[in-house]
């Protein structure tokens, strides 16, 4: 009996002392934090992808609380819904933002862009990029080592072994921008998803002169500026032998696609065209269009 009592008392006393220590420590070393940071962090997706440009969700929450307005602050993963919640907590108004998706601007498949040498270094685009212009003659195109795949936290980007190019799953892509940062050649761009996911994109970033580009790749943009001339909306600019379609201005008329001699301009998620003439198909047909992957689209084009 006595032993039990002693044991209980000793352990009880130890517990008390330790509880006291814990109490003192928690008071003394408490970090003062705006309680709203925690609240904001709670509504965030906690993917910690860094897509917002801050170190993780906690960092983003902190920035939201400290900033006076939410302009320019966007959680690409949670999107508009989450930002509205954040705005509610902070008593601010959320800015509107168009949903975006990552687009791989290279169509140099094995078929279009023959491999001339073999790269045998570590499997990393960054290293391949530092080593030389890669396995093909194109010094701007996709290296195919999959740094973007490794960077994606949402499993939205995969390498297609047939084309040797990464493909973005538009449904899973949250436009966090991790792949954009990971690509040493800045091939991936965040573009507006567009109506029904339809987009017109120049799938090329080659800045070489036309002759060199053509030598390296069948579908490389040669900067001939035919598309620029045909575009009724002035959405296309040519710089450094390369065309670029401004997705804000593009009205998806598809005129440039027909004009492009290199077939570098690709229409994504449009219904498959009937032989000719091709009237803009009705909405239901759009659903039949193949999935939102860029590269196969390009190869399937009739």
């Amino acid at each position: 009996m006595n032993t039990i009592l002693v044991a209980v008392m000793v352990l009880g006393a130890t517990a008390l002392v330790l509880a006291g220590v814990l109490f003192v420590v928690s008071k003394k070393f408490a970090v003062k934090e705006d309680p709203r940071v925690g609240q904001v962090a709670e509504v965030l997706p906690q993917a910690n992808c860094g897509g917002c440009g801050f170190p993780g969700c906690a960092g983003f929450a902190d920035a939201c609380v400290k900033a006076g307005s939410l302009d320019g602050l966007l959680c690409p993963v949670g999107g508009q819904a989450v930002m509205t919640q954040v705005a509610e907590i902070l008593g601010l108004s959320a800015g509107a933002a168009e949903p975006k998706v990552a687009v791989v601007r290279c169509n140099g498949t094995c078929e279009h862009r023959p491999r001339t040498v073999v790269y045998d270094g570590a499997v990393s685009c960054k290293i391949a990029h530092a080593t030389g212009c890669g396995e093909t003659g194109c010094a701007y195109g996709c290296l195919g080592c999959g740094d973007c795949v490794k960077a994606c936290q949402f499993d939205a980007i995969r390498m297609n072994p047939e084309t040797g190019l990464p493909e973005v799953d538009a449904d899973k892509c949250t436009a966090c921008g991790a792949c954009v940062k990971a690509c040493p050649r800045m091939i991936i761009e965040l573009r507006n998803k567009g109506r029904n996911g339809r987009r017109m994109v120049v799938l090329c970033v080659n800045k070489d002169k036309g002759a060199l580009t053509r030598k390296a790749c069948e579908v490389g943009c040669i900067g001939c500026s035919k598309c620029q001339k045909v575009c009724p909306f002035e959405a296309i600019t040519i710089a450094n032998n390369l065309a670029y379609i401004d997705y804000e201005k593009c009205k998806l008329c598809r005129k440039c696609e027909d004009e492009c001699p290199q077939h570098s301009i690709v229409a994504v998620n449009f219904p498959v065209r009937k032989p000719k003439p091709a009237p803009e198909a009705e909405a239901p047909k759009a659903a039949e269009a193949p999935k939102a992957t860029e590269a196969p689209e390009a190869t399937q084009k009739s």
Partner: protein, 309 residues
């Protein structure tokens, strides 16, 4: 990407040398314990290889063939070296599953494990089946397996054992640990082929020699002579094959010396003062856990370090 030439060294080459270095001790165990030793070794190797293959194929879904690097074979032989020759098959298979499945593959396979798989499995079995694991058959029963006559390991009564049979391996014990001579031959093979460096084995053996020597002088009755300690039990096996395992030993020479010293110290402490007559496996496992710390603390001698402040 440069360099464009390679030394031709490979994991499998290193592992092959380890296996070759283990052959003398293995052959001795076949000679000493006969059929039992063969059965135990074969079962252990086969089940280790099988589990490695099966886990890779069905759980990790890894197409890479990790069998070709022979590391599972090495683990299998090492596990067998740590078992008595009359151990039932199911215990060996459990040991192999633990070694490969739990200790090695859960951490990510070769190179990622924290502890030496064979050794961890031995300790696991020792704690799970304490009686079966410490009943060692007597030497010279060529055809016996389960029915072998057993005797206690000389470790229980180390001071009274003759030195020569202890050195040659004419005593009871686990398969691989009995013959210090064969293990020393293995050590020479490993050193000559540059598979390992001298730091770990030499520092372990030297530490044990010095410590037990001092203790022997202080307590000549209770503590056996340093030579008994060196040649008896699993010390030699551990120093040559277990502690030198690449994956679970420190990277730098300095770290390896510290590691070896600590293993030697712990072994002697457990053997002389602890409850178990054998302390090698525990000492190595404890030090395995300290390897990351040792690696952090012991950086190699940087170029021009003495000039730097």
């Amino acid at each position: 990407m440069s360099p464009h030439v390679h030394s031709g060294d490979s994991v499998s080459k290193n592992m092959r040398w380890v296996i070759i270095a283990m052959l003398p001790a293995m052959l001795w165990s076949f000679y000493a314990f006969g059929l039992g030793a063969v059965i135990v070794t074969a079962t252990s190797v086969a089940s280790c290889v099988f589990f490695e293959w099966a886990i890779n194929k069905f759980i990790l879904k890894n197409d890479q063939c990790t069998l070709c690097d022979y590391s599972a074979v090495v683990t299998g032989i090492l596990l067998a070296f740590n078992l008595p020759a009359n151990l039932p098959l199911y215990i060996i298979i459990i040991g192999a599953l633990f070694a490969i499945g739990v200790v090695k593959m859960t951490f990510g396979g070769l190179g990622c494990n924290l502890f030496n798989p064979a050794l961890a499995a031995r300790v696991f079995l020792l704690i799970s089946f304490p009686v079966k694991m410490t009943m060692f058959p007597e030497v010279g029963q060529m055809t016996a397996y389960a029915d072998a006559v057993t005797a206690a390991t000389p470790m229980a009564n180390l001071a009274k054992t003759d030195l020569l049979p202890l050195f040659l391996g004419n005593v009871g014990g686990s398969l691989g640990e009995v013959s210090a001579l064969c293990l020393l031959i293995g050590l020479v093979i490993l050193l000559v082929t540059r598979t390992i460096t001298w730091h770990i084995p030499v520092s372990i053996l030297a530490t044990v020699l010095v410590l037990t020597g001092l203790l022997n002088i202080a307590y000549p009755v209770e503590v056996a002579t340093p030579w008994h300690h060196l040649f008896g039990g699993g010390l030699m096996l551990g120093a040559v094959f277990m502690a030198t395992d690449y994956v679970t030993s420190p990277m730098t020479a300095k770290g390896q010396l510290i590691y070896g010293f600590c293993i030697g110290f712990l072994t002697v402490a457990i053997r002389v003062f602890g409850a178990y007559p054998e302390g090698m496996s525990f000492a190595i496992l404890i030090m395995n856990a300290f390897v990351p710390l040792i690696n952090n603390a012991c950086k190699p001698q940087r170029f021009a370090k003495e000039v730097k402040k």
